[in-house]
Symmetry: C2
Subunit: 338 residues, 2 copies
């Protein structure tokens, strides 16, 4: 039997944040008892956490696509762990598994609602969480299915240096877009987009007037806008749509920490441009994950899609890691190594 | 030769309104010279004006689907007139013609950009402007093409007692919707919707909490929301969408007189409900007008679609007629008899 401690660390939602999460609202419990797996269960040592903007939305007491995290509950989130002990034929000690681990060092997997998926051998866990994981698949289905880019289109993505946005721009190029534009929050990020990822243009929203710059670099208007940000950036894009444009709503990181979100004032351009704005959730595409992962693997291997992971060391920095997504501190996928 | 006066009355845009149009911003010119038709032209005596919310948007100096009305120009708008004298084989004295007449007593039609369409004999001009006109066709293409109602759907329309909204609800029933809900601004309007037009429910937005009432009368959520209003009513609908809902953006009468429009705060429900919001313009459907008019004529004759016109007497009341659309004073299509 491997050495398992008696207690472990985990983060519980203590109260609902107004604004960014902090150590008052998300509290450390450093003396949780490591559970014994029952029949059909396995004990998992969590190794990596996938840090995603949507985690912040689950902390609000608001209707969503999943119920809010309850007060006193472990912070919900995806991750990868290693099977420690198993009383299920589905889990073998030493295997790496992916699932909803939560922000904690140990968790039980089962064969039902808390089932986890064994990672194929040879897949780097960080890459499994980024380009082959929910992040990459969000870009794949959101851009290709909802956005429907056509050859010659102008495609613009906000949060372009983030985990999903950086993949969206590269997928747009693969889909034949002739003009790919990213909006990001620093000159370094913008340089990464244009010099390494093949974006045609990048707009630094902290130092440039986004609407005016979009008008300059999208002279024929925006055919597909993939939005991770909301707020003024969404409005700037709405003001520059081409006829029959598609606005793909993936998220709104500018709004998740606001008590009262702001709606897009320029939404009536959807009428004058005969355009549509559409949301999606990757949960609806579960049966197509194998198709998407195979396609993404091919593009990664041939070098058409590059990716970057921003690894934060230590479970104790999970809150800071989450906040990186909202203060612009990350480039690429944020992962916590537990 | 018929008796034609030397001068005529017309309304010119004197300055851009902030808020409702009034006699300062839209000025009477009562001594315009009646023009002589050149070769290929006809002189038209305007008889009816179609009063539509979009006219107010053309008074703003803002990008739209048509250029703004220039300062000093006749107020743009559709209407029906009678051919007085003609130097074109396309126009015959005594015929009724439909086109962009503007707010004036006389106008020239030609065979090019200012061409007008001869009304078939036997069609009541008021009906030609309402249910068979742009108003009815807006309901037809917006609901059936953009909204795509399915049998068993819940369809909700705002501005439901207006010219377009009242037709939308009846078309929803024809398309097989099992629950048709209208939002309107008085108990009289609501009673008209449910007792005469066959709506299942009506919500009076002036006396009832719209969001809560929509939750009550749409227990399975809204599949299609046809929006003429914007603002808080759009937000209330967004909070009550069914999965995969379609929000059809037709207009936003609550916003057209606002200096700084408000965007829908609840737009992120488009993500959680995997829904889409889409705008349209009837200009894109010109080639399908005959199909739509034939279908509408059939439904009107069999009694499946009822309609009402709100006729205002006298060109001098055109501004008041326009403002009826924004203060809720009309039921059905607003028409000025010139």
């Amino acid at each position: 039997m491997p050495l398992v401690p008696e207690t472990f660390r985990r983060y519980l939602l203590a109260s609902r944040p107004t604004g960014l999460a902090d150590e008052e609202t998300v509290r450390l419990d450093d003396a949780a008892t490591v559970p014994d797996p029952a029949d059909g269960q396995a004990l998992i040592r969590v190794r990596y956490l996938s840090i995603d903007p949507t985690i912040r939305t689950w902390m609000d007491d608001a209707p969503g696509y999943l119920p809010p995290i309850a007060i006193g509950e472990v912070v919900r989130g995806g991750g990868i762990g290693e099977v420690v002990t198993s009383r299920s034929a589905n889990y073998h000690p030493g295997d790496l598994v992916f699932g909803m681990t939560g922000w904690q060092e140990y968790v039980l997997a089962d064969e039902g609602a808390a089932a986890m998926t064994t990672l194929p051998a040879g897949v780097d866990p960080a890459v499994a969480l980024s380009v082959f994981g929910v992040t990459g698949l969000t870009a794949y289905f959101g851009l290709l299915d909802v956005g429907g880019p056509q050859a010659g289109d102008t495609v613009v993505v906000s949060g372009a240096a983030g985990a999903t946005g950086s993949v969206v721009g590269q997928l747009a190029r693969i889909a034949g877009a002739s003009n790919v534009v990213g909006i990001a929050g620093s000159d370094e990020k913008c340089a990464w987009l244009t010099s390494e990822l093949g974006f045609d243009h990048a707009v630094n929203y902290r130092s440039e007037p986004v609407g005016r710059r979009l008008a300059e670099v999208c002279p024929e208007g925006i055919d597909v806008f993939f939005d991770n940000v909301g707020g003024e950036i969404l409005d700037a894009a709405l003001a520059n749509l081409a006829l029959k444009a598609r606005v793909v709503l993936c998220g709104a990181i500018s709004q998740y920490n606001e008590a009262r979100p702001v709606g897009p004032r320029n939404y009536l351009s959807l009428i004058t441009r005969r355009a549509r704005m559409e949301g999606f959730l990757i949960l609806d595409y579960l049966d197509r994950f194998p198709e998407a992962q195979a396609a993404m693997a091919g593009w990664v291997m041939e070098g058409s899609i590059q990716h970057r992971e921003h690894v934060v060391e230590g479970l104790e920095h999970s809150i800071d890691a989450l906040n990186l997504l909202f203060n612009g501190g990350n480039t690429g996928k944020v992962i916590v190594r537990v």
